[in-house]
C-alpha cells in the first residue's frame, strides 16, 4: 500500500489512475450507465450526428455510439484485465518456484518458457484463432498462453535477487518453512516489480485486442468492441471522419492512462527514489531487469 501511495503522489499518475478506475466502474455497471440498448437498431437514424438523445450520434445501423462505447469497455478493458491477471498469476507461481528453488526445477521451467517465448506472439494468436475459431475468448486464451512465460521470466529474476538477500538466508537458518518465506519475505518484495511488468503489458494487450477485433478476429458482430467500432466507421472514414473519433479516442485515452500509470510504477521502484535499503538490488536490476523489460512490445 505504501507503494501505491508513492505512486499516487505523482499527479499524472493519480489522474491516470482515476481515469482507469472510472472507466472500469462504468464498464462493470454498463447497463446502469448506458443510456440505450447498444444493439438496438434504428435505421432511420443512420449516421445521425450528436443529439441530446444520442450524445455521440448513431452508427451505420443507427445504434447509440455512446452505449456501444460503454458496453465496449467490457471486452476491451475488463476482458484484457482478467486475462492479464490470470497470466500474471500463472507466471508468478512458476517464476517464484523457479527463482526460489533454482537448480533442476529452474532449468526445466525456464526451458519451457524459452519454447513459449520463441513463438512470435501475433503468429501464435492467429494460430489459436485458426484452430479454435474467431472469438474474444480465444484471443484472451492465446494471451494467457503466451504471456505467462514472459511474466515467469521476469518474476523469476526478481525473486532470485530477493532470495539471495541475507534476510531470506536468516529465515532459512532460523527454520522458517519455504512457503512462509515466500509469503512473508518474497511476495511483498516482488510485488512492485510485478505491478510494473503487468501494467506495462496491459497497454499493449488492450491495443492488440482492439487490433484483432478491427481485423474481425475478436468479438463477433452485434456485440460492441472498440476495435470493431473503428472498423465499422472505416467505411465512412472520408465522408464522416468523426465516427472514428469516439472509439479511437477511447482506446488512446485508456492506453495512455495505462502507460502513464506504468511509468509511475517504474519511477516508484526506481532505486534513486526508493529507500536506501533497496540500493543493492537495484544495481542488479539495472543490469538484468531493464533489458528484459524492453522485450514487452
Amino acid at each position: 500500500m505504501m507503494f501505491l501511495k508513492n505512486v499516487l503522489k505523482d499527479r499524472v499518475a493519480a489522474a491516470s489512475f482515476a481515469i482507469l478506475v472510472a472507466v472500469m466502474t462504468v464498464g462493470i455497471f454498463a447497463p446502469v450507465f448506458a443510456p440505450h440498448d447498444p444493439e438496438e437498431v434504428h435505421m432511420e437514424l443512420r449516421y445521425a450526428s450528436a443529439s441530446w438523445e444520442y450524445w455521440l450520434g448513431n452508427d451505420h445501423l443507427g445504434r447509440c455510439i455512446l452505449s456501444r462505447l460503454i458496453y465496449g469497455i467490457q471486452p476491451s478493458v475488463l476482458g484484457v484485465l482478467a486475462a492479464l491477471l490470470l497470466s500474471v498469476l500463472l507466471g508468478a507461481v512458476i517464476g517464484f518456484v523457479a527463482g526460489y528453488f533454482r537448480g533442476k526445477t529452474d532449468v526445466i521451467l525456464m526451458r519451457i518458457c524459452d519454447v513459449m517465448l520463441s513463438f512470435p506472439s501475433y503468429v501464435m494468436t492467429l494460430a489459436v484463432v485458426g484452430i479454435f475459431g474467431v472469438g474474444l475468448e480465444h484471443i484472451l486464451m492465446a494471451f494467457l498462453l503466451l504471456k505467462w512465460a514472459w511474466f515467469a521470466r521476469i518474476i523469476r529474476t526478481s525473486v532470485m535477487q530477493f532470495s539471495e538477500s541475507d534476510y531470506v538466508k536468516f529465515a532459512k537458518v532460523a527454520g522458517v518453512g519455504n512457503a512462509a518465506i515466500m509469503r512473508k519475505h518474497l511476495i511483498p518484495a516482488a510485488l512492485p516489480d510485478i505491478a510494473v511488468i503487468a501494467s506495462s503489458s496491459f497497454g499493449s494487450m488492450v491495443l492488440q485486442i482492439s487490433g484483432f477485433s478491427f481485423l474481425g478476429l475478436g468479438i463477433q458482430a452485434p456485440k460492441a468492441e472498440w476495435g470493431m467500432m473503428l472498423n465499422e466507421a472505416r467505411e465512412v472514414m472520408f465522408s464522416k471522419p468523426e465516427f472514428m473519433l469516439a472509439p479511437g479516442l477511447a482506446i488512446i485515452i485508456v492506453v495512455l492512462a495505462i502507460n502513464f500509470l506504468s511509468d509511475a510504477f517504474q519511477a516508484a521502484v526506481d532505486p534513486k527514489l526508493a529507500a536506501s535499503s533497496r540500493k543493492e538490488r537495484s544495481m542488479a536490476e539495472a543490469a538484468a531487469g531493464r533489458l528484459e523489460r524492453k522485450e514487452v512490445a
Binding site: F170, K172, G175, S277
Partner: protein, 247 residues
C-alpha cells in the same frame, strides 16, 4: 556439538553445459564444542563464506557431513532453535518492510509457535544489545550501521541458540563500533552461555573474541590453534597473516 567431517564444495564455472568446476572447499574437518568461540580466519576467496553457508545448512556439501548433535544441519528441524546467524551486510539482513519488532520476533515465532507470548521479551532483547525499546517500531532504513547490526544480533540470540555463526559480522562497521559490538558479543556469551563461530579476515578481532582460531587458505584448513598460543603458529601462511597484523 557441531561435527564437520571432510566437507567438499565446488561450484560450476560458466554456463549450464559447462563441465568445468571450481573446487571451493577441499575436505575440511573440525569440531566445535558447545560454548566455545571458534574463529575462522581467511582472506577473501578462501571459501570461508561458503563454509558458513554449509554450517548453517542452507547449502549442502558435495561430499562429507556437517552434523549438529548428530543430526544433519541441512534438516530444517535439526537446526531449529540450535543454530543462528549474523551476516556481514546489515542492510540486506533485514526485510525492509518489517519493523524491528517483527524482525526480532521472526525466530521466536518460528521456534515457539505463533501464539508465543513475546511481551517483554523483545524489550529485554533490545536492552541486552544496548538499544532503547523505542526502536521496536523503527524500520531498517532508519537505523545506522551499528544499530542495524545490533538488531541482527538481538534477532540471532532471540531463540537462544547454542551456536551463532557470525559471517564477517563486524567487517562492515567502523572501528570504534566494531569494538562495541565485540564487547557486546562477549557479554551475551556470558549471559546465555552460547558459543560462536566467528568467521572473519581480521585476526585481531578473532583474537579478541575467540578461544581457538583456524586458518583457511584456498579451501583448505591450514592450521588450528588456541588463541593463547597464537604466536606459536607453524604453517607459513598463518605466520605470514600474523606478521601482517603485527607490522
Amino acid at each position: 556439538m557441531l561435527h564437520v567431517h571432510r566437507v567438499q564444495k565446488s561450484y560450476r564455472k560458466g554456463g549450464m553445459l559447462s563441465r568445468e568446476k571450481k573446487q571451493v572447499l577441499h575436505g575440511i574437518s573440525f569440531d566445535w564444542m558447545p560454548g566455545e568461540c571458534l574463529g575462522v580466519i581467511g582472506e577473501s576467496g578462501s571459501g570461508k563464506s561458503t563454509l558458513a553457508r554449509l554450517l548453517l545448512g542452507i547449502e549442502k556439501p558435495d561430499g562429507g557431513t556437517v552434523r549438529f548433535d548428530g543430526r544433519n544441519v541441512a534438516d530444517r528441524k535439526a537446526r531449529l532453535g540450535k543454530i543462528s546467524a549474523v551476516f556481514q551486510d546489515y542492510t540486506s539482513s533485514m526485510n525492509p518492510f518489517y519493523t524491528v519488532e517483527k524482525i526480532v520476533l521472526e525466530p521466536l515465532t518460528t521456534r515457539y509457535g505463533r501464539h508465543f507470548n513475546h511481551h517483554g521479551k523483545i524489550d529485554s532483547l533490545l536492552f541486552q544489545v544496548g538499544l532503547d525499546p523505542a526502536y521496536r517500531v523503527k524500520y531498517p532504513h532508519e537505523l545506522s550501521g551499528g544499530e542495524a547490526q545490533r538488531v541482527c544480533i538481538a534477532r540471532a540470540v532471540a531463540a537462544e541458540p547454542q551456536c551463532i555463526v557470525l559471517d564477517e559480522a563486524i567487517s562492515s562497521l567502523d572501528g570504534s563500533v566494531q569494538v562495541q559490538v565485540l564487547d557486546l558479543l562477549k557479554d551475551l556469551r556470558k549471559l546465555y552461555g552460547m558459543g560462536y563461530i566467528f568467521i572473519t579476515h581480521d585476526i585481531e578481532a578473532a583474537a579478541y573474541l575467540c578461544d581457538r582460531v583456524m586458518f583457511i587458505r584456498e579451501g583448505r584448513l591450514e592450521e588450528m590453534i588456541g588463541v593463547n598460543r597464537l604466536k606459536e603458529v607453524q604453517s607459513p601462511y598463518a605466520q605470514h597473516m600474523l606478521k601482517m597484523v603485527i607490522r
